[in-house]
């Protein structure tokens, strides 16, 4: 059996899973300290369905703790950023464009050194060891405990970053290093920013991961602990200590992955309807499609692997207004006060939930309290909700073929069983805890994202090399070798470069290699 837990801003959802069946599900309020909230959720699960701690083979946790630390500029440690690229890149040094409060919270210090590569693998300039030693001495003297290392075109050649990392580790005892080629993709500033963000979270990650592992051990669990990543795969707790940044978007990802599991669909649109918004994402081969544009986190431009999600202000608590015969829904919402303010709960605000109850579609609260609503207004409001959600789904499609749609989240009762442009609409069981299920079923992945020179007639050979590398990475991260599959291949030809320079991205994913305990 596995336990999946999703620690969100408001609720902590937990599920107990045996193979493909959900044995128990719970929803509890999120606590200020992550560890006690998780123990509380596990206790609730045990009450719903008693189990032996030794029968649990893995515990998977999705958390927003680390991204919140960045947004709040709190609990961050003093950080240095070392970049190899001189004489290039000097015009935009590390930390350029960062908000002052984040620079202050990290005592951020940037260093520029010689090194870095060209797109074709030539050196921009050789690394200068004595220059680096001076930088490292200065970092040490300032008492900085975590270092972000970036180098130009390190996604093409990572040697220099690795060399600097071993030098830093050798010279400063107990220091943490984060290397940009392991964290981001092409685009130096965005990748470096993501690396610095990762670096400044390293001590917090150490603390949280150690705390979680110890708490579970004390509670009698011997199973390994995993954290969910932005792309819907898992990392073990030791990996999470080093890459806290990889947890940033695990919330929406887990809910989409859970929807895929519950509905049995590999390729579909997922509509997660909450109290205030509906979030729409696309699953391709069972994984969320990723956003292609830069993502800003706490005011810093990054290029994390984040799911592509489009939101619309429609949820269970959306306010409904009737003017003459025009009915509007949202974007404002009564949010968590739904159970006091909605008509069906005896309140005085007409909400989207009231329309769903009045239509007879669902039963929540007291249906007699909405019996007086004009049926034509109810119909108009619900039609409007369906049309707006259908339009968002349509916008997210990348091909003209209609997609099946899976509805999850507590507010999905607002939506009808048919949507314009949808191949079919599914409402899986356990839809309210799809996110915790997404955490519990997550797999292990590996990715390659580089510019390759593709000689004429060698395209297949180059693609095979890239695919093998992605598979090797997944296995190294803990995937069962026999189960690893390529889930995504993307080729983008690059303008103004010779030799058919092509950016190739390959992702491989496999089942977690579960040990019998």
């Amino acid at each position: 059996m596995r336990i999946g837990i999703d620690v969100g801003g408001t609720n902590t959802d937990a599920v107990l899973l045996d193979g493909h069946s959900v044995l128990a599900e719970t929803k509890t309020a999120t606590s200020g300290d992550v560890t006690s909230g998780i123990i509380n959720a596990i206790d609730q699960l045990r009450r719903a369905r008693p189990f032996e701690t030794t029968s649990i083979k893995a515990v998977m946790i999705g958390t927003t703790h680390f991204i919140n630390a960045i947004i709040e500029a709190d609990r961050l440690c003093p950080t240095a950023a070392v970049r190899l690229g001189l004489p290039a890149t000097a015009s935009l040094p590390p930390l350029v464009g960062w908000p002052d409060r984040l620079i202050k919270a990290t005592s951020g210090t940037g260093y520029l050194c010689h090194g870095g590569h060209e797109f074709d693998g030539r050196l921009i300039s050789p690394m200068d060891r004595s220059e680096l030693m001076r930088v490292i001495e200065d970092i040490h003297a300032r008492g900085i405990r975590t270092v972000a290392i970036s180098s130009v075109f390190s996604p093409v050649n990572a040697e220099l970053e690795q060399e600097v990392a071993s030098l830093v580790l050798e010279q400063i005892p107990g220091v943490h290093v984060s290397m940009s080629h392991e964290i981001g993709r092409m685009g130096l500033l965005e990748r470096e920013n993501a690396t610095i963000i990762n670096a400044c979270l390293r001590e917090l990650a150490e603390q949280v991961c150690t705390g979680l592992a110890a708490t579970l051990r004390e509670a009698g669990f011997t199973a390994p602990l995993y954290l969910s990543q932005n792309d819907g795969t898992l990392m073990d707790v030791d990996y999470a200590r080093e890459y806290p940044v990889a947890t940033f978007a695990s919330g929406p990802t887990n809910s989409m992955r859970g929807a895929a599991f519950l509905s049995g669909l590999e390729t579909c649109a997922v509509v997660d309807v909450g109290g205030t918004t509906s979030d729409v994402g696309i699953l391709q081969s069972g994984f969320p499609r990723e956003a292609t544009a830069e993502v800003s986190v706490g005011g810093v431009r990054t290029n994390f692997r984040m799911p592509d999600v489009l939101s619309v202000g429609i949820g269970g608590g959306s306010r409904v207004r009737v003017r003459d015969d025009d009915v509007t829904v949202g974007p404002d919402s009564v949010g968590y006060r739904l159970r006091e303010e909605a008509y069906v709960f005896g309140g005085n605000t007409l909400t989207a939930t009231d329309l769903a109850v009045a239509s007879g579609h669902t039963e929540v609260g007291d249906p007699s309290l909405v019996a007086q609503l004009d049926p034509s207004h109810v119909r108009a409001g619900l039609d409007r909700i369906a049309a707006e959600v259908a339009e968002i789904v349509d916008r997210m499609r990348t091909s003209p073929t209609p997609l099946p749609v899976a509805l999850v989240g507590g507010g999905s009762i607002l939506l009808p069983d048919e949507l314009e442009g949808a191949a079919k609409v599914l409402r899986p069981d356990h839809f309210a805890v799809a996110n915790a299920i997404g955490a519990a079923i997550a797999q292990i992945g590996g990715e390659v994202d580089r510019i390759f020179a593709v000689a004429p007639g060698k395209r297949d050979e180059v693609l095979d090399t890239a695919k093998q590398e992605a598979v090797d990475r997944a296995v190294a991260a803990g995937a069962e070798p026999a189960s690893v599959e390529i889930v995504d291949v993307e080729e983008v030809p690059i303008a103004y470069l010779p030799g058919n320079a092509t950016r190739i991205r390959v992702r491989a994913v496999g089942d977690l290699a579960l040990r019998d305990l």
């Binding site: 690229g85 001189l86 004489p87 290039a88 890149t89 000097a90 015009s91 935009l92 350029v96 464009g97 870095g116 060209e118 797109f119 074709d120 030539r122 921009i124 300039s125 130009v152 075109f153 092409m186 685009g187 130096l188 500033l189 292609t292 544009a293 349509d394 916008r395 997210m396 499609r397 990348t398 091909s399 003209p400 510019i451 030809p493 690059i494 303008a495 103004y496 470069l497 010779p498 058919n500 092509t502 950016r503």
Partner: protein
């Protein structure tokens, strides 16, 4: 009239430059950051009108040449465009009294500002493309008799080269392109050095202030909950680009891309919201031709832009994607870009199209089969 550019203007400027990029020209975001950093020290950049140049002013345009995808990784040292300008000054024995864009669309609208902020010289409010084009010979400067050569090109090591192909501007493009590859995919250039009288004769005037006005118009319309595209249509008749018009609204239903000789070529298909025939837009880095059904509606060098349906934000050919709701907005180029000599350099034939150029405002009325 001369005016100053400050950090606060840059957002509008790059939005307008992206519009004039007609789908290409490179993402001006890095240019924005570069100029903003330079302005932290310099404070303001002075932009002067071509009419304010004296005949013996010497203007050296500056630009970036190469792959935008390399630029985002190997950021500039910061000295490269100034090094190129200095190298050209040494070669010609003349000192630049101002710099100027060769291209007002995309990232190259920002490089001369970066140079001006560093050197404290003004930028001339004009350029030689009036939009974005893929190659260095595609300049009104060249069309009206100014040679691109000698050209100076610089890398981040302070190394420079001079290319002198005299009156053969296409050869200058080829040689400079080869050097750019050796420099790792991006080089910084100074070329088309000319005096004040030649600027007035050969440059498209007031395109920098136009970019600023276009960007500002889109932003202000959004702030006032007005339709930004309608606001653009109202602005254009006050400029040399005398007309702007939405020729199609719809949803992208297909995007095809291939790379041919280092250029990204492709076609976007846009389906309307009613029963009208589809719109197709062909591109080679920039948008080249827009057709509705089998009727040609806009041809290069007239500007084809694809804008987000609601926000009016320009979409580049690289970021076109199925499902985007868009408006295809055509802008007529200034008359000096429609003369026979101009069309020979950057008209439809220069891009391998067989159709003869017809101004889009005439195509709109009659249609061409």
């Amino acid at each position: 009239m001369a005016f100053d550019i400050t950090i606060a203007d840059l957002g509008d400027l790059v939005r307008g430059a992206a519009l004039l990029g007609t789908g290409g020209g490179g993402d001006p975001a890095i240019g924005h950051t570069l100029v903003a950093e330079a302005l932290r020290d310099a404070g303001t950049i002075t932009v002067i009108d071509p009419d304010e140049l004296s005949d013996d002013d010497f203007v050296i345009p500056t630009a970036l040449m190469g792959a935008p995808s390399v630029l985002v990784e190997r950021l500039p040292r910061g000295s490269e465009p100034v090094d190129a300008l200095r190298a050209l000054e040494r070669h010609t024995g003349r000192t630049a009294t101002a710099t100027m864009p060769i291209e007002s669309g995309g990232i190259n609208s920002t490089i001369p500002l970066f140079v001006a902020a560093q050197l404290g010289i003004p930028v001339v409010d004009a350029d030689g493309m009036g939009r974005a084009f893929p190659e260095l010979q595609m300049e009104t400067f060249a069309v009206y008799g100014v040679n691109g050569s000698p050209l100076a090109i610089a890398d981040e090591h302070g190394h420079t080269a001079i290319v002198n192909t005299v009156a053969n501007n296409k050869k200058m493009e080829d040689w400079a392109r080869a050097l750019t590859i050796k420099m790792g995919g991006v080089g910084y250039i100074a070329e088309y050095g000319m005096d004040g009288a030649e600027v007035r004769r050969t440059a498209i005037p007031r395109t920098l202030s136009l970019a600023l006005r276009l960007g500002r118009t889109i932003r202000e319309a959004r702030e006032h909950h007005r339709d930004p595209v309608e606001a653009l249509s109202e602005l254009l008749p006050e400029t040399l680009y005398h007309r702007g018009e939405v020729i199609f609204s719809g949803k992208i239903v297909d995007v095809e891309r291939t790379t041919v000789e280092g250029f990204t070529r492709g076609k976007a298909r846009i389906a309307g919201f009613g029963d009208e025939p589809e719109c197709t837009v062909d591109f080679q880095n920039e948008y080249l031709v827009a057709r509705i059904g089998d009727e040609t509606r806009v041809l290069v060098p007239d500007l084809i832009t694809i804008l987000h349906l609601e926000t009016g934000e320009p979409i580049t050919a690289e970021t076109l994607r199925y499902g985007q709701r868009v408006r295809v907005f055509a802008i007529s180029t200034p008359e000096m870009m429609r003369t026979p000599a101009a069309l020979e350099t950057f008209g439809p034939a220069a891009f391998g199209l067989t159709e003869d150029f017809v101004p889009f405002e005439r195509l709109a009325r009659t249609g061409v089969r």
